[in-house]
Subunit: 210 residues, 2 copies
DNA sequence: CGGCATCCTCTTTGATACTG
DNA sequence: CAGTATCAAAGAGGATGCCG
């Protein structure tokens, strides 16, 4: 992209991350940690493959992403954020908070992947009983599942993919899952609107909005 | 811009403010409050006039900007941020903090306007003697001057333009002004590097990095 | 003047096909 | 799997024209 050519911190930041798709790629890397080209492409429906390659090169040149050749049995290139790249989390969080109200009126034509829940869940969801035994909750509501784990200090971590024998598994339309995890609607209400929960339903009560 | 088409808060935010120049225009409106088309164009060197008009229309349609016909003697259109637009300040701040380190190695070809200092100054600069008499400091280091005012609670406000009889006036190269206000270099050091201060030099000591 | 609209060129993007 | 290559369409940038 052409530089704004302004001696201003905002302009300089946008010179680096202001292009189309760039912050979306950073989102994906924040959620997934080290991952493959194909994982990124799957997590970014709509991106053209040449653009993904080009952005990854730019991000690497700017020092926000590192690539490494993983040894067998993986035998592929892994992309991950550098420290400098991870510092963009505050930017993504601010944008996500600002954009959250826009989710209330979807057009109905959007793609949805449940792993996108990972960042807001890390930000907003609290474990109300940190001293109780650790639990894992799997959410499947489109695309790859995401697993939410208590960590013992009141916060939670997330990972893309399933884990064996989670304490509970959630399924249902995006709007309902979002509303439930954001604390906007109750469990009973969510079930009326299509939420399916298998496993230990009590773990649901343990999570609540921040 | 084409929508990302993803049911994700970040994607929805970028659908609205992700286009080139959009956040720069918001920066300008945050700094200046209500202002004219021409003020915006002057504060955004490099923007094409048709793009500014187009972005203002998009921002208005999205509910981030309102326009009003000011009565005589102004007799012109004033643009200002709506409440929803102002909420983007957290996004701009996060981007500015992330981008600040990039200011350390300028290419030397950048344009510089001292009023761009307004946002970082509001964020970082503290009044160390809030109970002392209010003071006003004018900074001129390219483009329009900016005036920093103590407000009595330890924070400061800024306004674009000069004010009559400020307590002190600063002049000098951008790097030096930036370094001084960020607390990276001392007053004596700044003066060696070209800082000029007229008026009451003591007011300078009153301001320090947060 | 202030606030655009038009026209034109150049760059970026998006979609798809192909390759080591 | 991890990209290139190609090409049409959309967007950005610059100059200039218009109209109250």
């Amino acid at each position: 992209m052409k530089s704004y050519g302004q001696l201003c911190a905002l302009a300089k930041a946008l010179d680096v991350v202001g292009e189309r798709w760039t912050l979306m790629i950073v989102r994906e890397l924040l959620i997934r940690g080290a991952c493959r080209y194909t994982d990124l492409r799957n997590g970014l429906p709509g991106i053209a493959t040449n653009l993904l390659a080009e952005r990854l090169k730019e991000l690497t040149d700017a020092g926000l992403v590192s690539r490494e050749a993983a040894p067998p049995p993986i035998a592929t290139t892994l992309f991950r954020l550098t420290e400098r790249g991870k510092q963009l989390e505050s930017v993504i969080d601010a944008l996500g908070r600002w954009g959250a109200p826009l989710l209330a009126r979807p057009t109905g034509t959007e793609v949805y992947c449940s792993h996108w829940l990972a960042l807001p869940v890390r930000l907003y969801v609290r474990d109300k009983s940190p001293s109780a035994r650790p639990v894992r909750l799997e959410v499947r509501s489109g695309g790859e599942p995401v697993t939410i784990e208590t960590v013992g200090d009141g916060s939670v971590t997330t990972r893309v993919g399933s884990v064996e024998a989670p304490d509970a598994r959630l399924q249902g339309p995006p709007q309902v899952i979002l509303g439930l995890l954001a604390g906007k609607i109750g469990i009973a209400d969510a079930q009326k609107k299509g939420l399916k929960c298998e496993g230990d339903r009590k773990v649901l009560r343990r999570f609540g909005g921040q």
